[in-house]
Symmetry: D3
Subunit: 335 residues, 6 copies
């Protein structure tokens, strides 16, 4: 089974030992991005994955590719060229001090991507699933055009498609996001993290968006599923006690009803990529034949474990995730 993902991979520069940006004398280096993290986790779970992107033709672009290869991702379809590697600086938070992220991704190579950089017919050959996010079309008009073309091509080749909305208000306006995303969603089977940009119409319902109740989710999800033809809509729920302690769970709508997963209380080592871990766990579960509720349980358990692992990518194994689903979160030494 093979999953293809499309997006940006950035160099992440994070301060060690809870230092603030103004204190640090070094940065730990990692490479990550939503869809890249999904691709790596898919390989980690024993399936195949291929990542599509554009990276500069220098040693830093190569280092990003190497990180993907290290964790098993096929990178032969990554285009090379453009101006620079996107970066982000991370100052991990603790207790009541929030993590700080400074993005430095303008003019990254992927913003200048061309359709001609890729041969989707070849890329999707033998693939079962295509995944991308709402961040990729937000990067540039060219990136948006590529996202649309990829979704169309994937559907045409019979793949299942998924989109993690992830609306980022610093990258584009709500209006532009809505315009683009409503178009993309026509080609999406599984929608993660739906939000206001998808154009839910409360006037046709009893839902008060400013005071959302438990039952309202079903009404919202049903309307969106009908509008876009989503097979599944899934969403994580996060309670943030502090930058060190969070509680997470998820829900999935299968067209008929909403299934709620267990809730996990996590002590945080590295919170970045936790949402991508839910996405990749869910995709893995669905590709591996689990039902929606089971796949969501796999996804949220994977996400819980991700919080304990440094870097953007999830290195928890299927066996570890299944142990946690089975109820053992006791952390006893495994000898």
């Amino acid at each position: 089974k093979k999953v293809v993902t499309l997006g940006e991979i950035m160099m992440r520069l994070s301060t060690p030992d809870y230092k603030r940006f103004v204190q640090t004398e070094s940065f730990d280096v990692n490479y990550g991005g939503g869809e890249a993290n999904v691709a790596a986790a898919i390989c980690n779970y024993g399936l195949q994955s291929s990542f599509i992107s554009k990276l500069p033709d220098n040693a830093l672009g190569q280092a990003a590719i190497n990180q993907l290869r290290r964790y098993g991702v096929d990178t032969q379809h990554v285009a090379r060229g453009g101006k620079r590697l996107g970066l982000y600086f991370l100052e991990p938070g603790v207790s009541m001090r929030a993590s700080q992220v400074i993005y430095d991704r303008a003019d990254a190579s992927i913003t200048e991507v061309e359709l001609s950089d890729f041969d989707f017919d070849k890329i999707f050959d033998g693939a079962d699933w295509f995944h991308t996010s709402g961040i990729t079309p937000a990067l540039s008009d060219k990136a948006a055009a590529l996202t649309l073309a990829a979704l169309k091509a994937a559907k045409a080749k019979g793949l299942t498609t998924s989109l993690d909305l992830n609306y980022r208000k610093k990258l584009w306006t709500a209006e532009k996001a809505r315009e683009t995303l409503t178009q993309l969603c026509q080609y999406v089977d599984v929608c993660l993290g739906p939000d206001a940009t998808l154009g839910f119409h409360p006037e046709d319902t009893d839902v008060d968006l400013s005071n959302l109740k438990q039952d309202d989710y079903k009404i919202v999800f049903k309307q969106l599923a009908d509008k876009y033809g989503f097979k599944y809509i899934a969403s994580t729920l996060r309670g943030s006690q502090s930058a060190s302690d969070n509680s997470i769970s998820a829900m999935i709508f299968d067209g008929t009803e909403i299934h709620h997963t267990k809730q996990y209380n996590v002590r945080i080592v590295d919170r970045v990529g936790a949402g991508d871990s839910f996405a990749s766990g869910l995709i893995y579960g669905l590709v591996a034949g689990l039902n929606a509720a089971q796949a969501a349980e796999f996804g949220i358990a994977a996400s819980a474990l991700k919080h304990t692992i440094p870097g953007d990518m999830n290195h928890a194994t299927v066996a570890e995730i299944e142990t946690l689903i089975g109820g053992d979160g006791s952390g006893k030494i495994q000898r």
Copy 2:
């Protein structure tokens, strides 16, 4: 607005990764001291500050100056000379293991300071506030004489003055402390952390010092304020669940009543300098025009955030502190 502080700055040598002194193969280097930490935080909040001290004329003394300059403190009035830089060794605790501090500050340059090393007329020119602590006069007779001279000069120039008592029984006897501090307090407007050395007379009151009740503080503070002419008396309250988890709050007496701040539960990265953070936050608030209760809230929120920052000095910004005062301690990622 400009704040002047006087005191010792030491090199701090701390073990990394929770190692004990007998295990460590390296020390992390920082520089700090009560009044130096206040000076750095004042700059951090956007005001000006100048630090007065004496440091050896070698590269280690220079490194201490550099740390102050790095965070914006004016160091042009620091005298150079004397025998050595004061040091302290820190073994950070965790859980039920307490932090250990080994001071190695005897014969530090500041203990041999001379009044002629400083021109207070120049130093206090344009300044609004002068701050020092009860540790400085405890270091040597010369340091005590300097502290007194500085307080007198500050008052003569119309500055507001503050003193953080910080009685340290390893540095001097209670008797000598009382003798010196009662003299110094004549020139102090804002007193932090009052204690037995100030000579509270319970016999004139209903207060039972061995069983202090909530209402007794007001009686104690009133008597001390009357005796010394303090405008404000402030004090922090710390509950220590373990070396990793504390709860902190503060109270301030404005001559009439006591205001209690919120209480914060903090997970500790570095507890050193938390008291200085309260002092600097309080001073900042009062200089910036907040009332006593507001200034104490600013101080204790600053102190709470300090616990999450490595080193002696506070690098939390005014915006971060105000967010915490506003009620958001959720630690959500700031992108």
Copy 3:
């Protein structure tokens, strides 16, 4: 007072900063093993100890010896030779992610130990106590023969003997363990962590092993004490909320009744060697003249503090342990 211990000391290679094995670019190096950890702690508490083992005649074997010497253990009786130093790889867990241990100890020098490598008459001269564990005889037939010979020699020289059972199912079968351990236990005065391998016969009692109640422990311990002539049987109890938070306590049977210690809630820095800390604290207490209940309190408080110290060995001092027993686990800074 002098304690002799016999066992394996391994090189421990652990990942830093909560990295997983597949992520790490370095390992922190420590050396440890159950009986070696006991020997080091005994010296830490001010008694003398000597460690018996066999180590390869290369720089790695020397480094293991150096670690023991560093913490005061007499290593002059360690035999040199054999093929290799035993290793174990440790990936410390956090939150719901469990610590992983990969042992690489096959063919370690101690597995090829010969009785002629040691002169027990000389080794036990002036010694008061001999300690070993159920891991040592599990390593090889030669190691088992040595363990038996050592226990016999210790008894013959009038030493008190202790054995920490520590059944490891990856090292030998339950059947072989039972056969060996029941023989060894004839020469044991103090048994730690009794388990099924000792051959408790429930049919002679009211005890239902699949549903052990508080009172049943006494029946089990009584039968075992009678069978093997144990003077004391002690055991720790661990509740694992997560890999980061555990609660621990202990109980000791003195032939008549079971004493329960306080329970401590620990936040974990390094959980390895916590059981050995209980053993060494208990032995120290008994050698130092405490009664069984007091010795167990000392042992469990030592073990609690061990969880906060990196590495296998305990560097908490007697004074720190007594402070904790006295009720102060507040972790306030010690200046």
Copy 4:
């Protein structure tokens, strides 16, 4: 005495321990840039300096300012705003493997600088010298306009001015460089590192530029000095045996003759900023009253010592430089 410099300061991210970009898991952080390095060295030598630039209004911009403050530079005139902090990635070379630099400075805040960001009348008040380089005007048209305005203002206020040409072909074309630099040089007193962009006319001389002889330098320098009114022209000479071993010397033309300095053979710790060290040493010497030959000797000795110091900035002291000039490069321990 006070020196003002104008230019860009970048974050430098360098690989530790001779790792290549594709290997590294961390970067060492430093901040540097030609004119920033000059400003820091000037303070190091006991004079005052102020640095002019534009930096983003975030924690990374603040960190760059903090590094300048740490080493004594006045940063109160640095403008804040714009898009991002310029970066460069450094892979230090060794032996026959050359150091690699990847610049990532496009769209740095200084490229969008406005004349209205600065009040040169205030900036140059009390200053003696103004220094900038040929890199600054190459960054953008706005930066070029600022450079010209600064030079004009400096001359108008009676300062001595210096320009380090540093032609970088990746930043602009030779034609555009020539056009801009010939205009700037009208306002320059001391020119460092003259090159082809300054428009030397060989046809008026006996000089064969493709085969430059020792005596030709005088002819070239004389023509340029006459053309632009330079008081001094100075240039370093570097022989590169390998990335680990270089030999350096300098020459200075004082309008009449060329003085050659001693040559130093250096083993390289960090070669970056060595040219800036020559510039700052030369400026210091001339400001301090040395003659041209002496100032160049000071500059090249300072540059030699810089090769042994990590980071972009020079932390060699005046005393150390004078010891080296005096002939002692033996490196004997100073106790």
Copy 5:
């Protein structure tokens, strides 16, 4: 073009900062082995490579695979299982102190390899070259049988084959080595580092093996080429001034004459894998169509650059190698 290599990959644990084994508190982790290093370098030069081996089915085996994938090697044919990952400990030398290596590779998974673990028909499909070394058959009888089978299969499929002799006297006797290697060499086209185990017969020649002259190499190589049908015989020559400075060159015999390469003087960062760098450079050159002399020049220049790169594997690029061949070893900064 695709190269397949067969051999062992070990975890390498090396001391940082020139520490000795008895001093170190950490090890830097790398993974390497002769044939693995060749496979990685081949990918580095832009060709494809696949590595064949057997690795344990645990996280350490996975980490070794990840290192290979990171640098582009196809690892899908690596068998999983067996007892353990081979290790080696490295203490890098400097000046007159030699590097120390402690191998800990007994019972590594590859020693228990079975022919049925591999499908050579599939493995060699589309491949052009097969490479292994004399270390692999020395590991165990099963590994020797696999090596022979692989060489036979490679020849049968029409691949060019190469063998790097690397006789290790700690792994097997000279007699057993000779017996095995003379059999393997029947299937080898390119022989690297021929030595006494190949059974050169001096009695048929004028060669005095105890006093080998320049011209004798041709006679030796000719006899061996005739005996085994080698197309090329290549060998490196190393002069060791100290552990920090070596001079290296190579020679290659093409059946007719011996070509000598340039000699390089290298300052050493990491000497391990330098011989493998020559092998991979030579193979790359021959696969890429260079003649024997050119390929050897490529190989020795690659090897020279390897000495400057930490770890076992070569990350010098084709462009860097060609620059060095072209004569520029000046190490000037590449901006």
Copy 6:
């Protein structure tokens, strides 16, 4: 065979990676001192040694003891008490930048040592050699009295005694040094590094001290040997090309003639303790039965290897030293 040494052991705090004091964010920790380094090396060579000193009764004093124990030194006779552990800060030099040492040893515990802290009868029981240096009596009058008492006691017990003069002008005046050292030398058998403080009288000879010729050494050494009854006088000779490259040799006078050792050119990793390495190598050689010339060769080869080892203490083995004496300084990998 057993050697006893007396002196101070200090904590050494050194900057990593060639950073200057004003740059460093951490210090590497080591412990060393002339006589402590000798004691450790003696154990390293397989003999026994005991170190006498006084150290503070805190964790830092314990850490110094632990370092000595780690390398095999008997520390049971070290007195505990006094004010503080002596420190020194080290900034390692490179190329033409000299290493900087800042001593911070005033008021160290050893300066307050009492004769009653030691029982020399017990300490010297079974010992063969006593060694100290001219630094110890320079620390305080009490330390000088102890040194004299120790030398007398050693002679009375029949030990051979050695003194390494090491005149340090920052610790005492030349006059006081001469007065003290001439008294001590009455009890010294082997004198290392004789200098002007010993009161050589040139007026009785042909020697011109301001222009010392090769033959003059013999005259000087003869007069001193006669005056003080030295059996051997030894001295090292160091040529300092730079802080990175030195050449070293030694000479020894046996009462009749001077023997010169080989000269070694060393590339320096850590130069501290190189003189102590010569002393300990010489002592080892003489104790082990070598003649004077052989012992000096052993000492200088040990010293050469010390330059390649981080820290104050020598970890080169007897086998490595003998290999170097045998002529192999090629640094070839030892597998």
